[in-house]
């Protein structure tokens, strides 16, 4: 959409290929490509190779033993639980928020958008801190929580809250630009012709935002699984109870159990790589649909 606009503002004849004499020398090109590849290799690929190398250093048997360890499996289940809840809550929020912001005019819209983005701009440690202040010992809520025996800080609910918080805007953020670019004409037409709200959403809005939604969910899941700082503040590190996979990595590494720490890391790394591949596929399909 934006591309069309540029086209109109700056009409151009012929191809979009850059003219031969502005292409720059071949040497510069080779140097820059080499520099980029080297930089990314050292900064991104080598850490990944390290994780794999260290995981299998003592053989496959030891690796299997490390990843099927009871504490690790427990941590994996807790991580998945927090991730699923975060994805569900943030998807519901993302859909409603993006709908409200893109389809209606109201005062304070900009402010609302800023508030929604707030969780990703604060440090994860501060994200953890605010939940400790809200539900921790010095909070006035603490005595009520104690009465009904519902612990949040240093317990599973705290971990889930922290995870939802740090991934809060992830889905609305992906959908919103798509909905805003699409405008409101189609929905207005459908509403005038008598379509009910859910029908409008399902038949008109959803097809537009499908890929953005999937991408948002993927991003949200990735961040939720890997969240470390905020969860670390709220966890209390009770082994086998409030330890997620990233925290398990920290515990093992701190105990000088390097091989198991990397083995657990490898699970998270595989998830991250899968997420990147899904992201590339979703983006590729989305772009092709956009071009059609």
């Amino acid at each position: 959409m934006a591309a069309e606009k540029t086209e109109r503002v700056m009409p151009r004849e012929g191809s979009t290929e850059i003219h031969a004499d502005t292409k720059g020398s071949k040497a510069v090109r080779i140097i820059l490509i080499t520099l980029s590849v080297l930089f990314l290799f050292i900064m991104l690929v080598m850490p990944l190779i390290t994780v794999i190398y260290e995981s299998f250093r003592k053989g496959f048997g030891e690796y299997l033993k490390a990843v099927t360890d009871d504490e690790t499996v427990g941590a994996l289940l807790l991580t998945l639980e927090a991730t699923v809840i975060a994805v569900i809550i943030n998807t519901v929020f993302g859909l409603f928020a993006a709908w409200a912001i893109s389809k209606f005019r109201f005062r304070g819209k900009k402010f609302l958008v800023t508030l929604i983005d707030l969780p990703v701009t604060v440090s994860p440690i501060i994200a953890g801190l605010i939940f400790v202040l809200t539900f921790g010992r010095q909070s006035f809520l603490y005595s009520y929580l104690e009465e009904i025996d519902f612990m949040i800080v240093y317990a599973v609910p705290g971990i889930i809250l922290a995870t939802v918080f740090v991934t809060f805007p992830f889905i609305s953020r992906e959908i919103l630009p798509v909905l805003e670019a699409q405008g409101t004409d189609e929905e207005e037409a459908a509403a005038l012709m008598g379509a009910r709200s859910f029908t409008i959403f399902r038949k008109i809005t959803l097809p537009h935002i499908k890929w953005a939604l999937i991408y948002g969910i993927v991003l949200c899941a990735a961040r939720a699984m890997g969240e470390f700082g905020a969860v670390s503040v709220l966890s209390g590190h009770l082994r086998g109870q409030t330890v997620t996979l990233p925290l398990q990595v920290e515990i093992l590494f701190g105990d000088n159990k390097y091989m198991p720490a990397f083995a657990v890391s490898s699970i998270l790394m595989i998830m991250a790589v899968v997420i990147l591949i899904v992201r590339s596929i979703v983006e590729f399909i989305g772009r092709r649909k956009g071009e059609e």
Partner: protein, 276 residues
């Protein structure tokens, strides 16, 4: 408020769900920070944040985040340029890889970098021969922050670079400007807002980063102790007021950065949309 009747249904419910979830998840927890702060006096806060150890952590955090973001600003422009302007095998993989720091859990990145750059690690051992230590020094912190900040500048510059019309470069070339001069005088000025946006976002993220840094930092007070780590240790000692006071300084810094980035971004969107 309701001057015109809304045609599209669902305003009430979508606004209701949005505000309810936003309040529960974000506003109430943040409000507790305000409430807690209001119980403290200004001198109390001031005493905490001017402790030598806290001031040293501000310095460490600022310097390492600044250096890392500057390196990422330069590398980000180069990467964006390579990805937009050149065609070469493996480009798509390179492009997809940029997001890795977002997808890879910070703790994993942290231990991997620590093991790479420690004296016995693949990269660390090379430097150790020359007597240079990387892990457990500020250099190590900077490397972890470079890792975290890679996507920001690249992803901010890429779309702008794609939109820049080669026509101007052709004109500059025809008028006799060298490639380097064209880049400096024609392309770079167009990229400045995007570079600054990416730099600002990376800088903000680096200031608050915890997971990837704690492992490689060594966490020596006054030397390699970053501000988020101080907050963490105050919390472990149940010293909530000190933690809150230091967190306020961090929040203030984050908001200032965000404000500046937003100012620049308004200009940036104008360029992206093809205006002047």
């Amino acid at each position: 408020m309701k001057r015109k009747k809304r045609i599209i249904p669902g305003f009430g419910i979508s606004m209701g769900v949005t505000l309810t979830l936003l309040s529960l998840m974000v506003l109430i927890p943040l409000a507790s920070l305000v409430v807690f702060t209001s119980k403290m006096s200004f001198s109390e806060i001031w005493n905490v944040i001017t402790r030598p150890r806290v001031l040293a952590s501000f310095r460490v955090s600022l310097i390492t985040a600044l250096i890392a973001s500057l390196i990422n600003a330069v590398m980000g422009v180069i990467l964006a340029w390579v990805l937009v302007r050149y065609k070469f095998p493996g480009k798509r993989i390179l492009d997809g890889m940029i997001e890795l720091p977002f997808a890879l859990p910070t703790a994993v990145a942290g231990i991997a970098l620590t093991s790479l750059y420690s004296d016995s690690g693949w990269i660390g051992s090379i430097f150790a021969k020359f007597g240079i230590k990387i892990a457990y020094t500020r250099v190590g912190i900077t490397i972890a922050l470079i890792f975290i900040g890679i996507p920001f500048v690249v992803r901010a510059v890429q779309p702008v670079l794609e939109k820049i019309d080669p026509l101007y470069e052709e004109a500059a070339g025809i008028l006799g400007a060298s490639r380097a001069r064209t880049f400096r005088k024609v392309i770079l000025p167009e990229l400045y807002p995007a570079i600054f946006t990416g730099f600002g976002l990376a800088f903000g993220r680096c200031l608050g980063e915890y997971g990837s840094v704690v492992f490689i930092a060594g966490n020596q007070p006054y030397e390699t102790e970053i501000t988020p780590l101080i907050i963490m240790s105050e919390l472990q000692e149940y010293d909530y007021s000190s933690a809150t006071a230091i967190a306020l300084v961090m929040l203030l810094a984050a908001f200032i950065i965000l404000f500046l980035v937003n100012l620049i971004q308004i200009r940036n969107t104008k360029i992206l949309k093809g205006g002047n």
